[in-house]
Amino acid sequence: MPINENKEWKPLIVAFCCNWCSYAGADLAGTSRLSYPAEVKIIKVPCSCRVNPMFILKAFERGADGVIMCGCHPGDCHYSTGNYYARRRMTMLFSMLDYLGIDRQRTRVEWVSAAEGQKFAAVMNDFAKTITELGENVKLGDLRCKKQQD
Amino acid sequence: MTYSYFPGCTLKTKGKDLDSYGRKAAEKLGVVLEELEDWQCCGAVYPLAEDEIATKLSSVRALAAAKAKEQPLITLCSACHHVIKRVNNDMKTKEDIALRVNNYLKLDEAYNGETDVLHYLEMLRDKVGFDNIKKMVVNPLKGRKIAAYYGCMLLRPSKEMQFDDSENPTIMEDFIRAIGAEPVIYAFRNECCGGYMTVNDKALASKMANKVIASAKQMGAEEMITACPLCLYNLKENGEDCLPIYYFTELLAEALGVK
């Protein structure tokens, strides 16, 4: 089946959702028929603390234009403390990407509970809009491709 | 034991006794107090407004001078102690205030609250030790029933002053015991005497002083001590029928035999 035939450019967005809150929040968005762009593709993980920064980098390297991670609100983690570790890890990773000059808007963390279908859809709409405005992500791929002067 | 010493303006004039006896007693105790050169008035009240900088500068100069000498800074007047200790705390913990003060003062080296600020009483308790003072007393003030008047400024706010338990202080009572007298504990020892109203509302100042004096008398006090020239003035001048009231340094000098 042909994909992307002469269409306007559409971003590719990967969303990591924890099983207990955010994935259920996404389900609720579906049950409530709240639409958000089809560019968003969800990967289920047991907890936001399962998200290895390498997964995010891998997504970018493979052509993702934006990566968002969703987990339970701090304090509500099914495993009590997972999202606290995730919060530090993601803060550090995002900071490093920003430091390298990769657009800081391409990464995001949102806490979405199982009851927040509305929020899930709103977040995805907003994130997709931001990424669409930013355009294609080429920087990370080109990070080591400076033409040598001599 | 050598310390920088900040006497403050009142101790050079109306509160001379607090200073002179303090120095004599210190000498006797083997404590060297080096008066800071060119110190300026601390400002008498600590500016509570977060945006006040100018009124904190003179305290910072004194603090920085002590830092340069690598000495803790000793104060004697309650008001000076309150102001300097709190300004020091601001310099230590409030980044924006420290930044603005340092930008303004342009000291050789930025000051960030490094100096240890000690009240004379704290020096007696923590450095000399009341037990040692007891040993050095030559004229124990036996049988004298003395009420310690703390007032507000030494104790509060306790999280900044870290002087003693603000509701149940013991340092002055321990001091009284060390010089051989009997401390009298009374309810209003840590309540304000209203001294700072003395200029514009004498009636209020006097009303409040009376409460303190009555409270001390009720518990059987025969005399009072304080560390604050303003409290001393207010209790003595605005209070009705005040008990004999002294600076604590005067009784210390007396007990040590250097009065």
Binding site: L12, H78, T81 | K159, E167
Partner: protein, 662 residues
């Protein structure tokens, strides 16, 4: 190489109306590993499941992908289906093309494209799936209850009644806890002893309950179903098998200066003592800190007067090791130290007391034999002031941030009891808010105001001091009339905050149960699992979890007991197979994983490994799969990637990323 079947569900029109299910089948047919693909109207129906089972058998499938509704809906269904067809249930993956696709997109082309991508991601993952076996672990059919107050007793009795043996460990010489110190209970005003002591006796006599009083938990090892606990039975220096509780020794003991804790130190007790008349066990205990014999080697009067020969100065601490399947924590509370609130003169004046002290003063077995007297001069008081929220609801270093919950009600109780018994006593209550949610609670409080004329003043007290006449001056404010209140009173009663018992930190550490910033134990879920700790097999009962009154405590104790019984009723526990596993050859033994594990599931062993022929002893992480809940925190903390999570491995997730981004 896997042999994968893909089953695309129409979900009637729920999916099929927006996703071109035929196109999806076509698109995934050539994906790596796929050897069968089909769509069907209702995959979860009997017929749909039969289709899956037939395909598994016919095509020898090693894994399946079902493109359907959310896995939260039917993953369990399809796993069972697979299992019935002889396939490992963990070889099933769901592509959520309903909630995450057909229901949120309108454009068919767009939705179909997305469905294909989601299917591809699931296929990529299944390619890397491995059959997983849910583990099993045996359950020791015995429960431990830590704490012998009303919470612990109720849990223990309920578990014991269900037929399981229970041990209660209580650190003080008797069970009964704080409730034993209370006089009357709200809102019914029945006597605490009358309802508690029968429970104490019941626990002591229950064939399934063993009491370890004057004992402490020393060490906890193991995991749900299999805890190994070491209990220290402190030496009482009294042989409890011989002691008859006659109390002759306690009366004759010459060391009588020390405070009596049971009466909040308002009176004294001997160095050999029985905390109170109804103590269980009714056995004396020698307090070695105060005993003349232990201090000087002389005395020994108790030994001489004991006709049973029960006094044994040579007794040693005893250690007991026991196995348990479940542990209930019921460590209760203590009263906040109010000496930091000396504006109320608590340390200075004996007529300023805490509410618990007042309970003892009002109690017939208390220091005044139940007569309300001022502690300073043992005279009848004419005025009493109650101050609420002392140490509760504040945010300074001397306050607790929470509401202690019980104070409003017990103060109303105290006020009412005093007015009932001594109508001449004026009672004033300074309050910030009166909080009385509970059955018949507000009615109770209103009775105090309306029938008993208790003077409730909205406002706080700023300072209390002694007057010349020995009475107390109370300076407060009435916020309703916006005026200063000056009262002269005979007693001041402080409603001090309650806080978790000090020992709870230690116990929480041993159990790897988490505690919050106030030292209350954390529940697994604040709404849905309120009596379970996040640590499997550990249950919470009473105030150790948060402030609560007696009825709530008893309900929670019962709930915890049911959870324990539910656990002990099982012969085997099935463990989640999606657990973390370390690769021994890659493990650095650096402890990063153990530091982030919320369950204490990771331990270290020194083990010889054979690294490509090289044998050496290394420090290696091991995961106790019975404790591991599969969150994956450790997998990211591990720098070498030695730690991986079954069912959500690094490669599996990377493969999904790849498939989505392809």
């Amino acid at each position: 190489m896997q042999r994968i079947g893909v089953f695309v569900c129409w979900c009637g029109s729920n999916i099929a109306a927006t996703v071109d299910v035929d196109a999806v089948v076509e698109a995934v047919k050539n994906e790596p590993g796929v050897c069968f693909a089909k769509n069907y109207q209702y995959m979860c129906s009997e017929a749909g499941q039969a289709l899956i089972k037939d395909a598994i058998k016919e095509h020898n499938l090693t894994g399946i992908v079902v493109c359907s509704c959310s896995p939260r809906m039917h993953e369990a269904t399809f796993r069972k289906t697979a299992e019935q067809a002889g396939l490992n249930p963990y070889m099933v993956e769901i592509a959520n093309i309903r909630e995450h696709c057909s229901w949120i997109h309108k454009d068919m082309k767009e939705a179909t494209e997305k469905a294909v991508i989601l299917a591809r991601a699931a296929i990529a993952k299944v390619n890397l799936n491995a059959p997983l076996q849910a583990g099993e672990s045996a359950v020791t059919k015995r429960a431990l209850v830590i704490g012998g107050g009303i919470a612990g007793l109720q849990s223990a009795i309920d578990i014991a009644d269900a037929g399981y043996p229970v041990d209660i460990v209580e650190k003080s010489p008797t069970i009964g806890g704080k409730m034993a110190q209370l006089d009357k209970t709200f809102p019914t005003l029945d006597c605490a002893a009358c309802i508690l002591t029968p429970k104490m006796v019941e626990a002591a006599q229950h064939p399934n309950i063993t009491l370890y009083t004057y004992s402490e938990v020393e060490e906890v090892k193991g995991f749900v179903g299999n805890f190994n606990v070491k209990i220290k039975k402190k030496a009482r220096f009294v042989d409890s098998t011989k002691c008859t509780g006659c109390a002759v020794c306690t009366a004759k003991c010459p060391s009588r200066k020390g405070g009596n804790e049971f009466n909040c130190n308002l009176d004294t007790r001997g160095a050999v003592y029985i905390p109170f008349a109804q103590a269980v066990p009714n056995v004396a205990t020698i307090d070695t800190e105060r005993c003349i014999h232990f201090k000087t080697g002389k005395c020994g009067i108790c030994q001489k007067v004991c006709s049973a020969g029960a006094i044994d100065f040579e007794q040693k601490d005893e250690f007991i090791e026991e196995k348990y399947g479940a542990i209930v924590v019921a460590t209760g509370f203590e009263i906040l130290d109010v000496t930091k609130f000396d504006e109320f003169q608590y340390t200075k004046h004996p007529d300023v007391v805490t509410s618990l002290e007042l309970e003892r003063i009002m109690n017939a077995a208390g220091p005044t034999k139940g007569t309300l007297l001022r502690m300073s001069n043992k005279e009848h008081p004419h005025d009493i002031v109650f101050i609420q929220c002392v140490g509760s609801r504040g945010n300074t270093c001397r306050d607790k941030t929470y509401c202690s919950k019980i104070c409003c009600m017990y103060t109303a109780k105290h006020a009412m009891l005093i007015r009932e018994k001594y109508p001449d006593v004026n009672v004033h209550v300074f309050y910030i808010d009166v909080r009385t949610p509970g059955k018949n609670f507000d009615e109770f409080y209103r009775r105090a105001v309306e029938q008993y004329n208790v003077d409730y003043i909205k406002g706080m007290v700023g300072k209390v001091w002694e007057k010349e006449n020995g009475r107390l001056a109370v300076q407060g404010v009435d916020l309703i009339s916006n005026r200063r209140i000056m009262l002269e009173t005979d007693m001041v009663v402080l409603a001090a905050a309650i806080q978790p018992s000090k020992g709870v930190r230690n116990i929480a550490t041993m159990l790897t149960a988490s505690i919050d910033t106030n030292d209350f134990l954390t529940e697994a879920h604040p709404k849905l699992r309120p009596v379970e700790s996040p640590t499997a097999g550990v249950f919470l009962s009473g105030v150790c979890q948060g402030p609560k009154d007696i009825p709530e405590t008893v309900s929670q104790a019962g709930a915890a007991a049911v959870k324990v019984v539910g656990l002990l009723a099982k012969d085997k526990l099935v463990t989640n197979p999606c657990t973390a596993t370390p690769n021994e050859l890659m493990c650095n033994g650096c402890s990063s994983c153990a530091r982030v594990c919320p369950y204490g599931a990771i331990d270290y062993v020194e083990k010889e490994v054979n690294d490509h022929g090289k044998r050496e002893v290394r420090r290696l992480a091991t995961v106790n799969s019975a404790l591991c809940q599969g969150c994956g925190a450790c997998t990211v903390a591990c720098p070498s990637g030695a730690m991986d999570l079954k069912g959500f491995s690094n490669r599996q997730i990377m493969a999904e990323v790849d498939a989505i981004c392809r």
